[in-house]
């Protein structure tokens, strides 16, 4: 059982800030996913934990011990690399045994651990093969097995699925999830750029944003449970990153404030949003947000022309042309009978609306789920 504490972690490469002021605590047994667009420093953060990079500032503790200066092997962590990094000249067995032999474990213990890993990851019959004689999925499993036999307190995964094809990716994702359940007590830290992996695997998501050269920015955009990030994004960056297709954003101004309600004016559209009016002033420019899956079609007072339709089978993507708004409003609908150029009624429900202030910070949303027309 081990808790990871990061306090005030920053990392810069030369003059380029990569990570800034990260405070994070990963609970024992937690599955924590670092996710974010490329350049957000998620892999670097993982490498700081692993001991492959030095932080420029801050403290890293594992189980209450400061590990900043400990080499990787003494941190009780194991890592699965994106490229698998199997030793090409060693057999599968040797790949797993190599590290254990260097910790002077008795041969019987090594064999027992490898046998366990082979059973868990179904590597029977592959032990004497070389990595180049394995398929991509098999290599991936060997890389995970090599981490398991070390019996670490923390598993680190660096984009482990990105070199697999789509079908195998789904299957391996399930295997990693069940591995986490089986190994209960070990924490897992997992880096990915894929929000589906993040949403499906994580107990907790840490969403990182690129600093874009600014050393005063914050690296962590939001940390929390997957659904918390989905329903209550802390800011516009999180709202845009989580969810697919991405959230719609419309410029608006605050028209009036009520109790648990904010009335905004968006290009002539009057919308009532069910969220905290705290800190807002009438006339303030804001951004209205709504997820495509929350736009209701065929009801409500608003009308718009359908400019484009994408039919995916299970759902259709309907693009609605709003007067005075450059990008069309995207709606996800189960209906497949909507045609281009049709004029369609739609509604943006009050409880589904998000509101972001000019600096990107979101207004707190209630948890109540009453229905009600927004616009």
């Amino acid at each position: 059982m081990s808790r990871i504490e990061l306090r005030g972690i920053s990392k810069r490469f030369g003059d380029t800030p990569v990570l800034n002021d990260i405070d994070l605590s990963i609970a024992p047994g937690e599955f924590c996913v670092f996710v974010g667009p490329s350049g957000c420093g998620k892999s670097t953060l993982l490498r700081l934990l692993a001991g492959l990079e030095d932080p420029s500032a801050g403290e890293i503790e594992i189980d209450g011990v400061r590990v900043n200066q400990l080499p990787p092997a003494q941190r009780n962590v194991a890592m699965v690399f994106q490229s698998y990094a199997l030793y090409p000249h060693m057999s599968v067995f040797q790949n797993m045994a190599f590290g254990l032999q260097h910790r002077k474990l008795p041969a019987g213990e090594i064999e027992r651990r490898i046998a366990d890993a082979v059973r868990i990851l179904q590597l029977d019959g592959l032990l004497q093969r070389r990595p180049k004689e394995l398929s991509g999925g098999q290599r991936q499993r060997v890389a995970i097995a090599r981490a398991i036999v070390r019996q670490p307190k923390v598993f680190l995964f660096d984009e482990p699925l990105s070199n697999l094809d789509a079908a195998l990716r789904v299957q391996t994702r399930l295997e990693i999830a069940s591995l986490h359940r089986a190994l209960g007590s070990a924490s897992m830290v997992y880096v990915t750029h894929d929000q589906v992996e993040a949403m499906t695997l994580a107990d907790r998501i840490v969403l990182l944003q690129p600093l874009a050269g600014r050393s005063d920015g914050l690296s962590v955009a939001q940390a929390g449970a997957p659904l918390a990030l989905y329903h209550h994004p802390a800011n516009r960056f999180v709202a845009a990153f989580i969810g697919s297709p991405a959230m719609n954003f419309v410029d608006a101004t605050v028209a009036s404030l009520g109790d648990g309600r904010v009335l905004v004016d968006a290009h002539g559209m009057r919308c009532a949003a069910q969220l905290s009016p705290q800190g807002l002033a009438v006339g303030e420019p804001v951004t209205l947000g709504i997820r495509p899956e929350h736009v209701r079609l065929g009801e409500g007072a608003q009308r718009a022309r359908v400019s484009h339709v994408e039919r995916l089978g299970e759902v259709s993507h309907i693009y609605l042309e709003l007067p005075g708004v450059g990008t069309p409003l995207l709606a996800k609908s189960a209906r497949d009978d909507i045609a281009i150029d049709e004029r369609l009624a739609f509604d943006l429900p009050a409880q589904a609306l998000h509101l972001f202030r000019a600096d990107g910070v979101a207004q707190a949303r209630g948890t109540a789920r009453q229905s009600g027309s927004g616009c």
């Binding site: 080499p71 990787p72 890592m79 690399f81 490229s83 990094a85 590290g99 260097h102």
Partner: protein, 293 residues
């Protein structure tokens, strides 16, 4: 891109669709055959002369009239040539293993770690290969004597490192740089020390480069003459190049050419065989050292 990259620059044969007399192709074959002949003929003639004896030696015919191995047995009978061969083998073998071991360690440092002064040190190492041997001769002589190594093989092994280390380091640094970073990181996660990393993870992956550089170092040490001539005195301590250079008749009148050619063939044939077998690796090793340098 490699094969036939230049064939159009200097293409043998006529332009397509234009049946002309193939001057280019004929020129190519003539030049190639001439080149092969000139390269190989001296060795063949040495082989031929080594099988001739007495007045037969003075006949320029390539095929000896009465082939004999008398020169070969003579070489071993007149002087401790077997000992000389063993010396050369010991010296070259030790030089190769020492150079490869030392350079492999250094190549990790220079190829994979960024540290201050790295570039300058690499330039200094490269310039050591420009050093004329005679420029270190008196200093080395003093050193060899001070350590009581005069007239021993140890002196030659140490001195020859000056000739091999610069390029073995240089070539192995080039190859070491190309190994994936993750492999080193995986080893770090496994908790292996840097020596284990270099010799048990990287060395097996670098074996083609090791073979190439090792062969080059072997040839350099096997062929070395000036140090071997200067730091040995007794015939028993000589390496083969010195032994061959100093073969003479007791009368000192005319050199025993038959025996000299026999000794030359003995020394050269294994080397040529080695080089022909490993020609691809040697060529890549030579060009890696030069292109990047």
């Amino acid at each position: 891109m490699k094969a036939g990259a230049g064939s159009r620059a200097f293409a043998p044969g006529a332009a397509p669709g234009q049946p002309r007399f193939p001057w280019g192709r004929i020129g190519y074959w003539a030049a190639s055959l001439l080149f092969i002949f000139v390269s190989v003929f001296p060795l063949l003639y040495a082989l031929s002369s080594s099988l001739k004896q007495g007045s037969g030696l003075f006949s320029p015919a390539l095929w000896p009239e009465a082939p004999t191995f008398a020169n070969y047995s003579g070489v071993f009978a007149d002087q401790p040539f077997a000992q000389n061969l063993l010396n050369s083998l010991l010296v070259a073998g030790s030089v190769v293993s020492l150079s490869l071991g030392l350079s492999l360690m250094a190549a990790w440092a220079f190829g994979r770690v960024e540290f201050r002064g790295r570039g300058l040190l690499l330039i200094l190492i490269l310039s050591a290969s420009m050093l004329p041997q005679v420029a270190v001769l008196s200093g080395m002589f003093e050193l060899v004597r001070a350590f009581g190594m005069y007239d021993t093989l140890g002196a030659l092994i140490i001195a020859d490192l000056l000739l091999t280390l610069p390029f073995t380091v240089w070539v192995l640094v080039t190859f070491m740089r190309q190994l994936p970073k993750e492999l080193e990181e995986a080893a770090a996660m496994d908790g292996v020390g840097v020596l284990t990393l270099v010799f048990r993870v990287f060395m097996p992956l670098l074996w083609p480069a090791m073979v190439a550089t090792g062969l080059l170092a072997f040839i350099a040490a096997w062929n070395e003459f000036l140090f071997a001539l200067t730091f040995t005195l007794s015939t028993e301590a000589r390496t083969v190049p010195v032994a061959i250079a100093l073969i003479s008749t007791p009368s000192g009148f005319e050199l025993p050419w038959g025996k000299i050619m026999a000794a030359s063939v003995i020394v050269t044939l294994p080397l040529v065989a080695l080089v022909v077998v490993f020609q691809r690796r040697i060529v890549s090793g030579l060009s890696a050292g030069a292109v990047k340098g």
